[in-house]
């Protein structure tokens, strides 16, 4: 299993890095009200990334403050293991052209 993972990562290394750097380009500073729009822009970008990576579902959800992004990839198996991760909001997605994420084409 480890070799398959390693090979896949090796093949896609450059893209993995570029995608992460694209996220860093949106100034989603949570403490500053002038960046409120950036928080949404960022949330939409994260949602797009989750969908492009294979999540069956990804949504930007309201919280009363800054939005959260929920995404899931569930296997259709009887013995389900659930996980979930909490991290801080990420940034923008520079892959949009004509309203479609370019990443979809690359995957």
């Amino acid at each position: 299993m480890s070799q398959i993972w390693k090979d896949y990562q090796e093949q896609h290394k450059e893209r993995f890095l570029n995608e992460m750097m694209d996220l860093l380009r949106i100034p989603s500073i949570s403490a500053r009200s002038e960046h409120k729009e950036d928080m949404y822009k960022c949330a939409e970008a994260v949602k797009a990334s989750l969908l492009a990576t294979g999540c069956g579902k990804a949504e930007v959800m309201e919280t009363g403050g800054h939005p959260v992004v929920y995404g899931e990839k569930l296997l259709i198996r009887p013995n389900l293991q659930y996980w979930f991760m909490v991290t801080t909001m990420c940034s923008p997605w520079n892959h949009w052209k004509n309203g479609k994420p370019l990443r979809l084409n690359r995957l």
Binding site: L23, S49, Y82
Partner: protein, 365 residues
């Protein structure tokens, strides 16, 4: 993410990620966009190689740096959606690339602001100086009185609910290698500072601390202006350990500062965000799986450490969802979190992506 100021100290623009020497420099690179995104890419690897054996749910929030107050309500209202067996958070650091480690807890936080007012306006320092209290002097004295000569916090009740860590655990904490010289040179300090009787890891892991985050007042523009300021302010926070409670500590700090000023000034203290401390057991399936995953990709023994930082949502997550949290971070303490020139090493990013699939594998076993 945190604000970027002081902007002039950034060597590259904070929102134009720049690679120098194998490191990505940008605000949010290590805290936490770079770390969160490792999970997305780890999932891609598993999904596209048909090796995904666990269900994955993501919650990516935007208020971690300002207290996650709305996420708590969101979690409470969406318990069914967020049902899970384990929670994985990557928002912490490794001791080093040679010493892989897992955080076993985060400190809590109380955050207040204190404003000291004397006159009803800024005054001419020649006409009024010496005759009216200067809020900057008063505030400075109030702040200076908060630590004694051994750097213990002097605020009455500050340590009351702090758990005393057992000698065994302290020994474990101090087992982690600590290079004092490197630690000092990395951040450019001449010597270490802290509460007497505790090591550096203990000071940031098992002890509550009080920090001044910002202080301002009076004229700060170019050149000089002779003024006796009307106001001075400071942002003050405390990092908390189990079994301290953020709300209780915030109240303690507010009461203390509201009553700490002399009668010649008016003090107004008010609260910002807070968060509870959290500790995860090293015997859980999640912890063991994470430890095995790191051991696999680093080829070294994994050391449990108590983080000095805070992730305010942890306590709420466990309370609402009834599941344990595992902290599996791949940053380094030297990444410059919250500071100018924040960076994330590309090596760490890829190591994280490599390690995460193993966590899923071991947890599903």
């Amino acid at each position: 993410m945190q604000p970027v100021e002081p902007l002039e100290e950034w060597k590259t623009p904070p929102f134009e990620p720049t690679i120098i020497d194998g490191k990505v420099f940008a605000r949010g690179s290590a805290d936490d966009k770079g770390q969160f995104y490792m999970h997305v890419k780890a999932m891609e690897i598993m999904a596209n190689t048909n090796t995904m054996i666990t269900n994955i749910k993501f919650i990516i929030e935007g208020e971690e740096e300002v207290g996650s107050s709305n996420l708590g309500k969101f979690v409470a209202a969406n318990k069914e959606l967020l049902k899970a067996d384990v929670i994985l958070i990557s928002d912490s650091s490794l001791l080093s690339m040679d010493t892989p480690s897992l955080d076993t807890g985060v400190r809590g936080l109380s955050y207040i602001e204190v404003e000291v007012t004397a006159a009803n306006r800024d005054l001419h320092s020649g006409i009024y100086g010496g005759a009216v209290a200067n809020p900057i002097v008063v505030l400075s004295k109030m702040i200076a009185a908060c630590h004694d000569e051994n750097n213990h916090v002097t605020i009455p009740g500050f340590y009351d609910d702090a758990d005393i860590t057992s000698e065994e655990e302290r020994a474990l904490i101090n087992k982690a290698p600590f290079n004092e010289k490197e630690y000092k040179s990395d951040i450019g300090v001449k010597e270490l500072w802290g509460e007497k009787g505790f090591t550096t890891y203990e000071r940031t892991g098992i002890r509550p601390t009080l920090e001044l985050n910002g202080i301002w007042g009076g004229y700060q523009g170019e050149g000089s202006k002779t003024v006796l300021p009307a106001k001075a302010s400071a942002k003050i926070s405390a990092r908390l350990v189990p079994s301290q409670n953020s709300e209780k500590m915030t109240k303690l700090l507010l009461d203390y500062f509201n009553n700490a000023g002399p009668s010649c000034v008016t003090v107004r203290a008010f609260e910002h965000h807070g968060g509870e401390p959290y500790v995860t057991p090293i015997t859980s399936k999640g912890y063991i799986s994470a430890s095995k995953a790191l051991e696999t990709t680093f080829g070294k023994e994994v050391i449990p450490v108590r983080s000095g930082g805070s992730i305010p949502i942890c306590n709420t997550l466990e309370k609402e969802l009834g599941i344990k949290i595992i902290f599996m971070g791949f940053g380094l303490d030297s990444d410059g979190l919250h500071s100018p020139n924040e960076k994330y090493n590309i090596e760490n990013y890829f190591k994280g992506i490599e390690t995460i699939p193993y966590f899923h594998k071991f947890f599903a076993e």
